[in-house]
């Protein structure tokens, strides 16, 4: 529940406490043996075992004894890396864009999690264990997003949420919000200037709103106070939490000028945690981003699908990395998500990143962008048992994911990969075609409903 300002309100609500016991997702006990372990945090370890107890990495070492009732995975000759993390995805969601208003900070993709989406399994088959299920980019300020663990097989959407992951929100600059609202509805924002105004205006309103409630709550304590409470506004509640640093901003952006613009906005409003999504021209302002501590989550080599993404380069991730900008590589696609390891490898061809640097782009760096780096993103004792096991090095063109483990439970096993992994079947459709492999449909769903392009 959000809203400190609402603390008093919830007391007024006369809630009936139902004592809903918190349901926790299942965790596994597992021993991975004799693997070539790419820890990402502390180098590579040959012929090493990883013991996962109750879903957490308990020990890393050689010839660890298998406790009773532990599942054992023989990783002899295989590569063991942290589960891949995708900082920009729209899988497992029943709705993506609440595109009816330029600012919809009050909506939350966590309300529309779809645990049955077959794309979750496809992502697992690419070694992915965590995704950032983002709101779309139709609005200058979109909704809050949800960080999900890919526990495919569980039917309760609550059990896919990554417990205690920080709140995040989607902002969007450039052609998408101007096309949807300016072009589509003839309202603000119709230009890049308009986008900036809409964001500044919303944040200013949130600041006023915070003050109104603070004044009210303070005045209330005085004797003989009779005033009416300010109007509750869930949109401004959320933005107030952005201003007070409780929510990480993930901003869809392409051009250097607009990226730099938003940096100024963040500076003016004291927003410190900012991740630029896509950021195709981020390389042009890499030193500025680094100086601010802003982060970037980019494509490896995807561009030219609309005007604002022509000035792009496959060296983007490498330039950002070399300039000290914490960077990740994301998918924004149900298809690309299956080979993020390959996308990361492209930075070795374009930019000569080291193995560790390339692997960080899809593990610890996206974890940091989501504020979950203490839990996942590297193979360290105490972290979640989220592991991807590959035949051949994951950065090799011959890499093949063979096991994907979430919380110590094998969620993808190449040897048991049946050809119908659907959890839910439409009883009235003769053949459920899905959209896998259809390149048109499997493109970014960022602008779903609005149109078929990003």
């Amino acid at each position: 529940m959000k809203g400190v300002r609402l603390l008093l309100l919830t007391v007024l609500l006369a809630l009936v406490i139902q004592g809903f016991a918190q349901i926790t997702p299942p965790v596994g006990n597992l021993l991975i043996r004799h693997g070539y372990v790419l820890t990402v945090s502390h180098g590579n370890l040959e012929d090493t075992d990883i013991l996962i107890s109750n879903g957490k990495i308990a020990r890393i070492g050689k010839n660890l004894p298998a406790p009773q009732d532990y599942e054992v995975v023989d990783a002899t000759g295989l590569y063991v890396m942290p589960g891949i993390i995708d900082a920009h995805s729209h899988i497992a969601l029943q709705a993506i864009n609440e595109s009816t208003n330029p600012v919809t900070a009050e909506v939350w993709t966590g309300d529309v999690v779809d645990p049955f989406d077959i794309a979750i399994y496809h992502a697992l088959a690419g070694g992915v264990t965590v995704v950032h299920a983002l709101h779309g980019s139709a609005n200058a300020i979109g909704g809050e997003s949800e960080t999900l663990k890919l526990r495919y097989g569980l039917m309760d959407p609550d059990l896919l949420r990554m417990e205690n992951a920080p709140r995040t929100i989607k902002f969007a600059l450039g052609e998408n919000p101007t096309r949807v609202h300016g072009g589509g509805q003839n309202i603000m924002p119709g230009t890049r200037m308009g986008v900036e105004f809409v964001i500044r205006n919303a944040l200013s309103e949130a600041r006023d709103y915070m003050k109104k409630w603070d004044d009210y709550n303070a005045a209330k304590l005085k004797k003989g106070f009779h005033g009416a409470p300010p109007r509750y506004d869930r949109r401004l509640e959320t933005l107030a939490d952005v201003l007070s640093g409780k929510i990480i901003v993930h901003c869809h952006s392409y051009r250097a000028d607009e990226i730099y613009m938003l940096l100024q906005v963040c500076k003016d409003f004291g927003i410190k945690r900012i991740v630029f999504q896509h950021g195709n021209e981020a390389y042009k302002v890499a030193p500025e981003l680094a100086a601010y501590g802003a982060m970037a989550s980019v494509f490896s080599d995807w561009w030219a699908y609309k005007f604002e993404v022509y000035y792009s380069t496959a060296y983007n991730a490498a330039i950002l990395t070399r300039n000290g900008v914490l960077t990740s590589i994301n998918s924004d696609s149900d298809e690309l998500i299956r080979h993020l390891y390959h996308e990361a490898a492209k930075t070795q061809k374009y930019g000569d990143l080291s193995d560790d640097e390339a692997l960080k782009l899809i593990t610890i760096n996206p974890a940091t962008e989501l504020g979950i780096e203490g839990r996942v993103g590297s193979i360290d004792v105490g972290k979640d048992g989220d592991i991807a096991i590959f035949r051949n090095h994951p950065l090799s063109i011959y890499a093949t994911p063979v096991r994907t483990i979430v919380d110590g439970i094998i969620r993808f096993n190449r040897d048991k990969d049946s050809d119908d992994m659907r959890m839910r079947v439409d009883p009235e459709t003769e053949i459920d075609e899905g959209d896998f492999g259809n390149t048109l449909k499997s493109e970014s769903r960022c602008m779903e409903i609005i149109d078929s392009s990003r």
């Binding site: 529940m1 609402l6 309100l9 007024l12 609500l13 006369a14 809630l15 009936v16 406490i17 139902q18 809903f20 016991a21 029943q94 709705a95 864009n97 609440e98 595109s99 009816t100 208003n101 330029p102 600012v103 919809t104 009050e106 909506v107 939350w108 993709t109 309300d111 529309v112 779809d114 909704g143 039917m155 309760d156 959407p157 609550d158 509805q185 309202i187 009779h226 005033g227 009416a228 409470p229 109007r231 509750y232 506004d233 869930r234 949109r235 050809d419 119908d420 659907r422 839910r424 079947v425 439409d426 009883p427 009235e428 459709t429 003769e430 053949i431 459920d432």
Partner: protein, 557 residues
């Protein structure tokens, strides 16, 4: 050529309101009122409630209430007597959600263009919780009669719409001039996860969730300040008056539950989430795939009504083949579909086994599938007693009306259903339906042989075209050794007679010619009749074809 043919659709596919001839004169007839206010069904098998079956018993209904029930009861001298020697008598069924009789205000159907789609007037965005279904209910709606014919005597009637259509009411499904069908008004605030139309806010489920929380929390604030203000006006700012927010007050004070239509399992989840956040009283209704939520539902203080709409059974005799797919693969896909259909059928059994009390809802169930679907639910494992309990006393208990309805006990409202066989029997037919002690429908014996195809009469047809689903009516009558017929309605200036009607076994073929904007086109319809329904294909001209289905309208005598 294609476009020329498409232009025929408006003619071909008729959307119209069917008016039975007699109905046109109804206003001229004087309603005479019932002959007696006392009825007795004698010597019948009476199911008073779960586990309470009495043989050779009599039930006496007087002035709308049940006067007496039992084996030793005798019919009073002033009663109209119905000899129930072969009848099986049940409490009238209770429907957990229906929109029958709801008359959508005309302005609802208009498309709205507003200057700011992100902040539309609430009524454009499907937010009309201040509405009361009483003001928009018309019992002469055919659906009310069809539900009655299916044994339902009381229903939770909710307005149609999107996110917050308004307040529901518990209605007796009778329709007599000057009658009093209202049982409980403003029984629940109806809600569903439907976004606003016309790309207005809130457009998506996540938008609806956010708007719900916004409205609820703002209403809570407004309500509490309104209380403060009421206690002492002096020196205080006047609270804002907002009909939308005020509609939430009875929900916030827990006087009135929210009736949440949640067909899909994930919608069930979302409704439970809101309930958990705010603690309001809630009834889930029209649940279709809630079997995964059983544990959560069980832990929550909510009532549940399960949908009587089931997916069609998988046809295993299909000879259709799919390119690039082996027979084995096709079989596997088919097996998974059949397994899924079974899950829908066994939902009620799963709830029953989990010890959750539930009723049934008919909202989007075809009336002529209700009995058939209940039988499917029984053969999927729910025992008959539980089905009858769900239709009667359990529904009444969830709705808080078990002191008035749900069992055949003296003093309760005389809602009674009588069948010629035990209700859970394939061939059971409902013979009498009493609502408030008055017979609402008396079915005459049709003397129809099983399997015989009866084409004569009026059929409501539904056609799917690229323009959408549309309805019309066809009528068949005997002519010489064969049949004649016609199609009528909507854009057709006058009914069009069929050029030919040919019935062989259960295969019916008829054709007709339509003119539209100076062009003519021949339409041939080939269907297969199964009892009171048919399915097949309509061929328009040489090129177009589309699926057509029909259901027979009940005989009006």
């Amino acid at each position: 050529m294609k476009s020329a043919l498409l232009s025929f659709y408006p003619v071909l596919i008729i959307s119209f309101v069917f008016l039975e001839g007699s109905a046109l004169h109804a206003q001229d007839e004087r309603y005479l009122g019932p002959v007696s206010n006392t009825y007795a069904i004698t010597n019948a098998t009476i199911f008073q409630g779960p586990g309470r079956k009495i043989l050779h018993a009599t039930i006496v209904l007087r002035d709308g209430l049940i006067e007496s029930v039992g084996a030793n009861v005798s019919a009073p001298p002033d009663a109209v007597i119905i000899r129930g020697d072969s009848l099986f008598v049940y409490p009238g069924f209770i429907d957990g959600l229906s929109h029958a009789g709801f008359v959508q205000p005309a302005e609802d159907r208009q498309s709205h263009k507003v200057p700011n789609p992100g902040d539309p007037p609430p009524e454009f965005a499907g937010i009309t919780p201040q509405r009361d279904v009483r003001d928009l209910y018309n019992c002469t709606d055919g659906l009310v009669g069809s539900l009655r014919a299916a044994g339902f005597t009381c229903a939770h009637i909710a307005p149609c719409g999107e996110m917050l259509p308004g307040y529901a009411a518990l209605m007796q499904l009778s329709c007599v001039p000057g009658g009093n069908p209202m049982l409980v008004s403003r029984s629940a605030l109806f809600s569903q996860f439907k976004g606003a139309p016309d790309r207005l806010y809130p457009g998506t489920t996540m938008g609806v969730m956010a708007k719900w929380r916004q409205l609820y929390l703002q209403s809570s604030l407004t309500a509490s300040y309104a209380r403060e203000y009421a206690s002492n006006h002096a020196g205080r700012e006047r609270p804002e008056s907002d009909r939308v927010l005020e509609s939430f007050f009875p929900v916030i004070s827990r006087e009135t539950p929210v009736l949440f239509a949640t067909e899909d399992m994930l919608d069930v989840d979302r409704a439970l989430e809101l309930q958990l956040e705010f603690g309001f009283r809630m009834i889930l209704t029209n649940v279709k795939s809630g079997w995964i939520d059983v544990e959560k539902v069980k832990r929550s203080p909510v009532g549940v009504f399960l949908s009587l709409d089931l997916p069609d059974e998988v046809k295993t005799d299909s000879t259709k083949t799919f390119v690039g797919m082996t027979e084995e693969e096709q079989t596997r896909l088919q097996d998974r579909r059949m397994e899924t259909v079974r899950k829908y059928e066994s939902q009620a059994g799963v709830f029953h086994n989990a010890g959750i009390r539930f009723g049934f809802a008919t909202a989007d169930t075809k009336c002529n599938s209700i009995h058939k679907n209940l039988l499917r639910i029984v053969s999927a494992g729910l025992d008959q007693e539980a089905v009858l309990a769900a239709l009667t006393i359990d529904a009444a208990t969830i709705l808080g009306i078990s002191d008035r309805l749900g069992s055949l006990d003296p003093g309760k409202i005389a809602n009674v259903v009588a069948c010629d066989r035990p209700y859970i029997d394939e061939d059971a037919k409902i013979k009498y339906v009493f609502i408030d002690g008055q017979p609402s429908q008396i079915e005459r014996d049709k003397q129809k042989k099983k399997g015989e195809v009866e084409v004569e009469g009026h059929w409501t047809i539904t056609t799917k075209t690229p323009d959408g689903k549309t309805e019309g009516t066809v009528t068949f009558a005997k002519k010489d050794d064969g049949y004649k017929g016609r199609i009528s309605g909507g854009n057709l200036q006058a009914p069009v007679e069929f050029d030919s009607v040919d019935l062989k076994g259960d295969k019916l073929v008829f054709s007709y010619t339509v003119s539209y904007q100076g062009q003519t086109m021949r339409v041939e319809v080939k269907v297969q009749i199964k009892g009171d329904s048919f399915e097949g294909t309509a061929y328009a001209g040489d090129v177009d074809q589309f699926p057509i289905s029909g259901t027979k309208n009940p005989d009006k005598r």
